[in-house]
Amino acid sequence: MRPRQTIIEIFSTFLQFESDRFSGWITDPKLRRSMQNRLNSQPQPETSENFWAIYWYKVWQSQPDSAARAHLMAYLQEPCYWVASKTAASFASSQYNTSDCFQLAIAQIDKVLKGFIPDRGSVLKNYASVIFSSLMREILRQQRVVDVCTPWALLRRISHKMLLESLKAAGLSANAIAAYILAWNCFKTVYVPTAPTGTRKLDSPDLTAWKAIASLYNTERYSQLNPPGNEIQPEIVEKWLLGCEKAVRKYLYPAQTSINAPMPGQETGEMVDNLADPEQVSLLSKSIELEEEQKRQSQQLQIQGVLMAAIAKMEPTAQEMLQMYYAQGRSQQEIAVELQIKQYTVSRRLTKAKESLLLTLAQWSKDTLHISLNSQVIKDSTTLLEEWLKTHYSPSRN
């Protein structure tokens, strides 16, 4: 992939694929104009990408519907691309190639922006890599199960909320959704696996089961549905449930065209021009930026110090596992093979090792930044830790 050269490019262009390969950067004219205006308004245009990343992030915080989101999406194209190509390469058996992974992940940009905490030395690009990576793995993991599940197995393997969202996305009315969900609940109550394994190969219910499901529905509708609607026949329940299954598959794997990401070259609408101006002045103040940058760098150094000391105190095998996972990019399974232990042991030991690091990091936040700790603050530290581990062990540093 050809890296982007100028600040304008970095915040206004989108990656384009051609037969799963990077083929170039496409400019969004409105974003380009917006970026150009910002630069022109400065006596000495700022050229650090980090500066602009923080700038747009702050604009996005105060105006989530503004063009800031699109600028950040442009900015995060690169980390998303690298994670996508790495993920697609590691799981070659998957149907998903790099561009699929990329599309699925970039569509989740709101999760990245909402979860990002700019203080305590966190860098948006690194944070985004961590989140994109775990999102892609999660999607691939789900997809593999979904691919081997029969319709009836799949219906048992989704959450209530997932079904609800799928039916909403399919455009059903509120009453229809309530009826479908009741039918699904009745199905789940009546039709369960009868052997300890093989849950993915669940066969179609037989007529007796369909009758039982319909009969449960017909009783429950009086207490569960308002209005209770009509009595239904077994064939109708079956039809509804197959409808549910279809809606779920469609929701889980939308056709590429329907992914809610701005298409390269497409104008991003009227949002670009509605930025509030007074915001810019203070945000663009050079001295504030410098101060923040210095603060961040000093915090990063301190975090580096305490975490490296904590790692040095760990048992050699724990250190080795962190090294293998983060520096060599090996999977839990590969580590297990190498160390001749079970993967479950690797999973548990990595969790334990990271508990002590999280404790160190949280303690440091409390002592140094005088942050009063609660589980929310500690939760925020987990991604900071993950980000740090990935950066610390990344081969480019060594």
């Binding site: 799981f91 909402k114 775990s134 793995r137 691939l140 993991r141 789900q142 593999r144 199960v145 979904v146 048992r156 393997r157 989704i158 959450s159 209530h160 909320k161 997932m162 309530a178 969900i181 609940n185 789940k188 109550t189 009546v190 369960v192 696996p193 009868t194 300890p196 394994t197 093989g198 849950t199 993915r200 449960l216 429950e220 207490s223 983060y326 999977s331 839990q332 399974q333 079970k342 993967q343 479950y344 999973s347 548990r348 990595l350 969790t351 334990k352 990271k354 508990e355 999280l358 949280a362 303690q363 409390k366 700790l373 609660n374 589980s375 500690i378 939760k379 987990t382 993950e386 581990l389």
Partner: protein
């Protein structure tokens, strides 16, 4: 293990994946056969898998004392009607919420584990169970307070649901926050439910004890259902009715024919005295030839509760609490209390240790067929309300 492993090679460092060995799986399957319907059987199986994997992990990596919060009979009586398993460790209570769902869009907790003061835990753990591949994943957790304040209530299945963005995915946050901010509250206030009269309870038991009622938890308003479910004795009775088992809690039958197996598992036993031994005991303690005992653990120490029929007066019974160790004393502050079946106090129903004493005891006259509930303060480990039928 199957070859189409979907999870293991995709696990990230943050994923906590626990093993279910084939032996554990077989045992879980065998232990989940005594239920009224395939759906409760399946629910029990998933809960059992989650429990055994999580307990092994907690015991090996955190605290060997971690244990299920209910006896096997108590667990069965819950799984027959709802999802969720209580685990206790380090003085905290966790409810495991197993699910087969492949997505983590929400943590969905049955209302029984949220709105009942005796059962509400400090934490809920989302547990994804994958029986085909033999693993369990602890995918996130939240506190009771978070669930109540940020979750939404879904009346269609009477559950509190917390959106995935509010669920804390990394379990390490739980351990670290307990170390660094132990004062952070975990529980929201819960109003107790109105008490259920004996008539009302018997009525409900008859109706919901019919196994054709597939979802008893949704069949009556929650305040009624909750009061029934929270009462361990009634819950046990409901389970027996749904499985067509006769009442296994008859004291007279225990004395005549032996203690039922369910009760033996809980620590009940029968003690028979030789006539000479009776004489040696003197007249102060009852001199029956057979008495019932229940082993208890309170604050890590072993105690014994004894139920003794009066030698001369039919219908009079003596309840005694003493330590299991000869010559040891019950610490001051302990209370032994008897209640009617619907948990109402009555006159002289309590004995309190104002200082360290050898034993606490209460004598009561009981009508045949009447039920009694015993309570001890502090609460014995794994305590669940039991109804003794006389």
């Amino acid at each position: 293990m199957t070859t189409d492993t979907t999870f293991l090679d995709l696990a990230s460092a943050t994923d906590l994946v626990l093993e279910i060995s084939p032996a554990q799986r077989d045992r879980a399957w065998q232990q989940s056969q005594s239920f009224s319907h395939p759906s409760s059987r399946w629910r029990a199986y998933l809960n059992q898998l989650g429990l055994s994997a999580v307990l092994t992990w907690l015991q090996e990596d955190y605290n060997p004392q971690a244990a299920a919060g209910q006896t096997p009979a108590g667990l069965r009586s819950s799984w027959e009607v709802t999802n969720g398993t209580v685990v206790t460790m380090d003085g905290m209570k966790l409810v495991l919420v197993p699910s087969e769902a492949i997505d983590f869009s929400e943590l969905r907790v049955p209302q029984e584990w949220v709105d009942l003061p005796k059962l509400a835990p400090d934490y809920y753990l989302g547990v994804q169970v994958e029986p085909d591949e033999g693993w369990v994943r602890v995918w996130g957790y939240c506190t009771h307070l978070q669930l109540k304040s940020r979750g939404s209530y879904d009346p269609s299945d009477r559950a509190y649901c917390l959106d995935e963005t509010d669920v804390i995915k990394d379990i390490n946050v739980l351990w670290v926050s307990r170390q660094l901010c132990p004062e952070e509250p975990t529980k929201a206030g819960i109003d107790p439910l109105p008490t259920l009269s004996l008539d009302r309870a018997e009525n409900l038991l008859q109706r919901l004890g019919n196994p054709a009622v597939l979802n008893p938890r949704l069949a009556v308003p929650f305040p009624l259902w909750g009061a029934l479910f929270e009462h361990g004795g009634w819950r046990q009775h409901l389970y027996n009715l749904r499985l067509g088992k006769s009442d296994l809690w008859s004291i007279r039958q225990w004395l005549q024919a032996g203690v039922s197996e369910v009760a033996v598992q809980l620590g009940w036993g029968k003690l028979e005295f030789q006539p000479s031994a009776v004489g040696a005991k003197g007249s102060e303690s009852a001199t029956a030839s057979a008495i019932l005992t229940r082993q208890l653990t309170i604050a890590g120490k072993a105690y014994e509760l004894r139920v003794i029929p009066h030698e001369q007066l039919a219908g009079v019974w003596r309840f005694e609490l003493q330590t299991a160790l000869m010559g040891d004393r019950i610490p001051g502050g302990f209370k032994l209390r008897l209640l009617t079946e619907d948990l109402q106090p009555f006159e002289n129903n309590e004995d309190v240790a104002t200082k360290a004493v050898e034993r606490l005891f209460i004598e009561v006259a009981i009508e045949p067929g009447e039920g009694l509930v015993w309570e001890i303060e502090p609460l014995p480990e794994n305590y669940d309300t039991e109804i003794l039928r006389f």
